[in-house]
């Protein structure tokens, strides 16, 4: 096979101040230049995305007095995919007095991420976590309370303290509504302008600085250029590269990918999280997968029949013939092992013939013991909406019959590379929330994405972007600027190309086929041979896509097929980079399991000597191999250890 990538100069974060971890954020904030309130009004920021990260950042910057232009592809900012998060949000409040602290949250996150994240960023995340809960309560987020009126918490996979705050099974919804309301308050105040049903299709870079975006008005098809003093991407993750995932149908990589093509490094694209508790696939027609929050693992016990191929109904299988395999293999953490461990364990059970349900791709998550212990009402109070959803989809009653679950793609740790200030490798382009790669290393702990999104949006970006804006005054530019015109032409050319192919296959059929390839070779387990094969398959399919896809209609109308074609076109390019990244990382770590690199008892085997770095990829051209830029990771505060949850 021809050379798939080249290696370039290493990169480094230059923004985290030296000194002890606990002093860095304070020092950075003090070191950042401030802008006086009267001058903020003259500065504008483009904010793409209205999820937890984007809405909280837009509201905060608006309140600080900047002029913010916000964009989302849905018809309301409140519908960003953060709305779907179920289980909860972490914070090191230690209200339970169970030994939690900033340091422990930091430690758990670095360990959970299998030592592939930056200490400085993670420590800061743990540090601001408590303020997030304060902020949300002040906004009226109705977190669960105990009878004394105090905030309730629960525990989540991968940790032994109870630090997850929640609002029944709708934590993401409640947090997002809080941020959305803060955003709408700023719209009312005239500081933020929200453009719904607008999709970003290109980044505008002028003199090496990010200055604007090209967006398509999804109702009229009109292409618009918007310019500002800085651009922030808060556009979420790229799980939909797999076609089937727990993400919303519109989630995409287009914003981040287009920025990548314009020079932003893309870090660790192969670190994708497979969530252990989703409803199994029921058939060919399936358009998305539904998550059952892993908080269910607090009360549910996971098992399969001891005998392979056992087709008895679960109720007919006596206790002695059930294998509670997580409790057996990981006595210390049991059903609460981290996601990657739980997912692979389920896959192994199914591969060895112990799977249940149609096609044998499922394991039981059984609430019977918890219902017997706590009563049906208590379970309904905690998980009612999830269990209703399960019943609607499967037509089975989870209060009586064990639920069937199987892993599904859920979250992407990879994303655009950012430094301590959350600035990408393009000056003036900041990336927050799931769209960046920053805090979760090779595996994210449950309830930490909501924390990160809000930390980035309410607390971190608003304290770093001012430094950039203060130090980088730029000349005003409008849509007639040659770079803006060029970007607009690129977008128009690409849309016209889609519409002119007039082939024979639907966009979705390509997306499904692409997703199946990525899932097979770059999913729960990867190996060199498969990944090389996958690169070939992706290239061939991409070629076919660009010659045989059928996109009906015209650009100047509401055209949902055209929207999807653009997203899938970008997924093709990302998929190839994911496979190259997975191929080059010959170790296993976190979610990235290379079959060639495992311990004697089948656990992920890291290779810290070779791979203790962030793989940041540089785009070098359509037909030229990407360039690897390594950011070496140094650990001064945690000791690198083989993860063990036994």
């Amino acid at each position: 096979m021809e050379q798939l990538f080249t290696v370039g100069e290493p990169i480094q974060d230059a923004k985290a101040p030296a000194g002890p971890l606990q002093d860095q954020w304070e020092a950075r904030r003090f070191g950042a230049k401030l802008i006086n309130p009267a001058n903020r009004r003259k500065l504008s920021v483009i904010m793409v995305g209205t999820g937890l990260a984007g809405a909280s950042a837009a509201a905060t910057l608006g309140e600080a007095g900047y002029h913010v232009k916000s964009f989302c592809y849905q018809d309301s900012p409140r519908r960003a995919h953060s709305i779907a998060a179920q289980g909860g949000i972490n914070a090191a409040k230690n209200y339970r007095n169970d030994g939690d602290s900033i340091r422990r949250l930091f430690y758990d996150t670095v360990k959970g991420g299998d030592y592939r994240s930056r200490e400085s960023n993670v420590y800061r995340l743990a540090e601001v976590s408590s303020s997030i809960i304060d902020q949300c309560v002040a906004q009226g987020v109705p977190f669960a309370r105990d009878y004394g009126g105090l905030l309730d918490t629960r525990s989540f996979g991968g940790v032994q303290v109870s630090r997850t705050f929640y609002a029944r099974g709708q934590t993401g919804q409640q947090l997002l509504l809080g941020a959305y309301q803060a955003l709408e308050r700023q719209v009312n105040a005239g500081t933020v302008e929200v453009n719904t049903r607008h999709e970003m299709l290109e980044l505008i870079v002028i003199n090496g600085k990010a200055r604007g975006v090209v967006v398509r008005d999804l109702v009229s098809g009109t292409l618009e250029t918007h310019l500002a003093d800085a651009v922030v991407l808060a556009t979420g993750g790229y799980s939909n590269v797999y076609y089937l995932s727990t993400n919303a149908m519109g989630c995409n990589t287009s914003a981040t990918w287009r920025a990548h093509r314009k020079g932003a490094l893309f870090a660790n694209p192969c670190f994708t999280q497979i969530h252990p508790t989703c409803i199994p696939v029921s058939g060919e027609h399936q358009s998305k997968l539904t998550l059952m929050s892993e908080s269910l693992r607090n009360d549910g016990r996971i098992w399969v029949p001891v005998k392979a191929g056992d087709t008895r109904a679960p109720g007919d299988i006596p206790a002695a013939e059930r294998d509670y395999y997580l409790e057996r293999q990981y006595p210390a953490f049991g059903n609460l092992v981290p996601r990657d461990v739980a997912s692979r364990a389920a896959k192994n059970q199914c591969d060895s013939g112990h799977g249940v349900g149609p096609g044998g791709r499922g394991v039981y998550l059984d609430l019977a013991d918890a219902i017997a212990r706590l009563g049906r009402d208590a379970i309904e109070e905690k998980y009612g909406n999830l269990l209703d959803m399960y019943q609607k989809i499967t037509d089975e009653d989870p209060y009586r019959v064990p639920m069937r679950i199987y892993p599904a793609v859920h979250y992407t740790m990879g994303g655009l590379w950012v430094d301590y200030d959350l600035e990408s490798s393009i000056p003036g382009l900041f990336v927050i929330g799931e769209a960046n790669y920053s805090d979760h290393g090779a595996n994210r702990l449950g309830a930490s994405a909501l924390m990160q999104g809000l930390a980035d949006g309410y607390f971190i970006l608003p304290n770093t972007i001012n430094d950039y804006l203060a130090k980088n005054p730029v000349a005003a530019a409008d849509s007639s600027h040659p770079e803006a015109v060029k970007a607009l032409d690129t977008v128009r050319g690409r849309l016209e190309r889609f519409l002119s192919i007039n082939g024979s296959r639907t966009v979705d059929s390509f997306h499904k086929e692409l997703g199946a390839i990525v899932w097979e070779y770059c999913g729960m387990e990867r190996n060199a041979e498969g990944l090389e094969h996958a690169v070939g398959l992706i290239r061939a399919l991409k070629e076919e896509f660009w010659t045989d896809v059928k996109v009906t209609g015209v650009n100047e109308e509401l055209n949902q097929t055209l929207e999807r074609a653009g997203r899938v076109g970008d997924f093709f390019e990302l998929a190839e980079l994911m496979c190259i990244d997975a191929l080059h990382r010959a170790e296993s770590c976190g979610s990235h399991f290379r079959t060639e690199s495992q311990t004697d008892d089948g656990e992920a085997l890291r290779d810290d000597a070779e791979f203790a770095y962030v793989a940041a990829w540089e785009f070098t051209g359509e037909d030229s191999p990407p360039r690897l830029r390594k950011e070496n990771l140094e650990y001064h505060n945690v000791e690198l250890a083989q993860r063990s949850y036994k």
Binding site: A59, T60, E63, Q74, D75, S76, R78, R79, H81, I83, A84, D134, Q135, C136, Q139, G140, P142, F143, G149, L150, L151, A167, Q170, Q173, Q174, Q181, A182, E184, R185, V187, N188, T196, V219, A248, M249, G250, S282, G283, H285, Q286, S287, K288, L291, M389, K392, I393, D395, Y458, F459, P462, T506, D508, S509, K550, T552, G553, E557, L558, Q560, T561
Partner: protein, 249 residues
């Protein structure tokens, strides 16, 4: 299953629309209603017709994007269910199913089954928030919230903002949606200070957007996918009344 769907087709806001019939074959009972429409759209694309435009995103009942009137009922025949969570097992082989957009004065049709619901955002803009500054707040444990108030706020806060209540209302009223927000924030200690002004500001915007008045018919709560109860409107009305005399002095 083989079924027939009769769907509202309309090219854009200004165009005239009409119902058009399509046959869709080979539908499995485990498909969701929207997956059935995906099959139809593949069929249309294959012959070069424009697929049917409809709103959807999360497909798990939480984002509030999906919005179809199915056989005359907003979100279809199943109670407490969004369009995207409706499964074909609730229909029979040979059925003819009518599919229409949310119809309401304040919701212009943009194309086929897609409508403009931005008026609902503007109601929130007018006052549907607590004026808590971002970036600094007292410790979360400093405010005790009695569990019953937290639960009551939560029951209102689960509104997904879909607009089914409005589509179902013979008056095109948005009072259930507005009442849910007034309740969510109005029963919490943090929301007391602005409580009455908030209610009044939202109702004023509601009226300005062209939503109709509430005559307590109850169609709204019957179609609401998360079961927002009718008494949320009474709460809202009470708050508005409390705000009025103060406005006059």
């Amino acid at each position: 299953m083989n079924i027939t769907v009769r769907i509202w087709r309309q090219h854009d806001r200004a165009a005239a629309g009409r119902m058009v019939s399509y046959g869709v074959d080979g539908i499995s009972p485990d498909m969701s209603f929207l997956e059935m429409l995906d099959v139809l759209n593949d069929q249309l694309t294959a012959v070069g017709d424009d697929p049917v435009a409809f709103d959807h995103d999360c497909r798990e009942g939480i984002c509030g994007m999906c919005s179809l009137v199915i056989n005359g009922i907003a979100h279809g025949p199943e109670a407490l269910t969004t369009t995207c969570q409706l499964y074909m097992r609730h229909f029979n082989d040979g059925d003819t199913i009518d599919v229409e957009p949310w119809r309401s004065q304040a919701f212009p049709i943009l194309r086929d089954l897609v409508v403009d619901r931005s008026a609902m955002d503007r109601i929130i803009q007018a006052g549907g928030y607590i004026s808590a500054p971002t970036g600094s707040a007292p410790d979360a444990a400093a405010t005790l919230v009695p569990k019953k108030d937290a639960d009551r706020a939560f029951d209102a806060a689960v509104c997904i903002g879909c607009g089914a209540c409005i589509a179902a209302c013979p008056n095109g009223s948005g009072m259930l949606f507005t009442g849910a927000k007034a309740n969510h924030l109005g029963v919490l200690p943090q929301g007391q200070t602005e409580r009455h002004e908030r209610a009044l500001a939202m109702v004023n915007q509601h009226d300005a957007e062209g939503f109709g008045g509430c005559t307590q018919i109850g169609e709204c709560t019957a179609v609401c996918p998360v079961g927002i109860p009718l008494d949320m409107i009474s709460f809202l009305n009470a708050d508005v009344l409390s705000a009025l005399p103060r406005k006059q002095d």
